[in-house]
């Protein structure tokens, strides 16, 4: 099978079958916290896609070509969190200075991305599981797009849940979590999608 096909398959499986939020549990905090309005969830999702992609491109070479030959692979978590945090600050700085319109829509979510498990989780698993660079990139791309899709879909459902007639105790987060469970069950049905290939 050509590399291109595996790349696409890896993206799809990271995006849907093994969804970052619903089966790997990264980034639940923003998934629950920032999904009340479709617009804000879209902003958060796009910011996460960008940061994950760049962080993958920086962290993988950093680990493979520098930390590992130097004999200090255990410094990975420290290095990654420094990379991610400075990346977030630099992007924020750039947006704040040159693009007020972007700042208006993304500005509030940028500082939250540092403490978003999805970014560190993806970068860490990329090197923990010994992926090649192209696979790491596919994993990052698939994961982040999966996050974007799920958080937008979820926020659409949540806006409708607001007006739905739910029991009083379930109002707000509990019913949202049950909804997420049903979504997770739906995605479980996709497991083994590529079993025949």
């Amino acid at each position: 099978m050509s590399d291109f096909v595996t790349f696409i398959l890896a993206i799809i499986s990271a995006m849907l079958i093994d969804n970052v939020v619903l089966s790997r549990f990264y980034g639940i905090c923003p998934f629950l916290g920032v999904s009340k309005k479709v617009k804000s969830s879209l902003g958060m999702g796009i910011a996460v896609v960008f940061v994950i992609l760049v962080a993958t491109c920086v962290c993988w070479p950093l680990y493979t070509y520098i930390l590992e030959p130097a004999g200090i692979p255990f410094m990975d978590t420290v290095a990654y969190i420094l990379v991610i945090a400075s990346l977030v600050q630099l992007v924020g700085l750039f947006i704040k200075k040159y693009s007020p319109s972007l700042y208006k829509s993304l500005g509030i979510y940028l500082p939250l991305i540092t403490t978003n498990c999805a970014v560190l989780g993806v970068v860490q698993t990329n090197t923990d599981t010994g992926l090649r660079f192209i696979d790491a990139l596919a994993n990052g791309l698939g994961t982040s797009i999966g996050f974007l899709v799920i958080i937008v879909v979820f926020s659409c459902i949540r806006t409708r849940l607001e007006s739905a007639n739910t029991p009083k105790a379930f109002k707000g987060l509990p019913i949202a979590l049950i909804t997420a469970a049903i979504m997770a069950i739906a995605l479980m049905g996709l497991q083994g999608l590529f079993a025949g290939i």
């Binding site: 595996t6 093994d18 420290v78 497991q191």
Partner: protein, 177 residues
């Protein structure tokens, strides 16, 4: 002037914090490194016991070069069994993660068993349930190895390829015919 002093103090504090973190991590590494190595060795020993039944006498590994997956060879001797048996260490990775395993053969180069040392595949549990466990419990193991359709096909294919390669290497090292 007061500003400069403040900056210097800030820089020194931060430098100290970084140095202290580095030192702490270094010390922890010195304490734990030996133990982690020992854990790894125990793991491999356990793997051999799993393949060959009782606790076998295993030689130190010798490196193998020029192969895709297979990278180390062990000679295994068991009390009461004639002939030298060979076992191989193989590491491979695909787009879902990496697999390290031991592949064991008996003295006639027949596939004896395998033991997974590390499996970081995303679908590790599916792979374990539907492929590895089936091989371990099957009567005719080599037939089960070929049956890779299990819901985690990529991982299963990787394991199959690793076993095939190890088989070839075993035939080269221990020619019987």
């Amino acid at each position: 002037m007061a500003n400069t002093k403040r900056y210097v103090i800030t820089a020194i504090t931060l430098g100290l914090i970084c140095a202290a973190s580095g030192a702490l991590i270094g010390v922890t590494n010195a304490i734990t490194a030996k133990r982690i190595d020992q854990n790894e060795k125990d793991n491999i020993q356990r793997g051999f016991a799993e393949i060959y039944g009782q606790n076998p006498v295993v030689s130190d590994p010798k490196p193998i070069e020029g192969k895709d997956y297979t990278n180390q060879v062990y000679t295994v001797e068991i009390e009461g069994v004639e002939g030298v048996q060979y076992a191989f260490r193989a590491d491979g990775s695909n787009m879902y993660g990496k697999i390290s395993m031991l592949v064991g053969f008996d003295s006639l180069n027949q596939f004896k068993g395998m033991s997974i040392i590390a499996n970081t595949q995303t679908y590790a549990s599916t792979l374990n349930q539907n492929y590895i466990d089936k091989i371990k419990t099957a009567e005719n193991k080599s037939e089960k190895i070929e049956d890779v359709k299990c819901g985690a096909t990529y991982g299963a294919t990787l394991i199959r390829d690793m076993i095939h390669e190890a088989q070839e290497v075993a035939k080269q090292i221990n020619p019987k015919e």
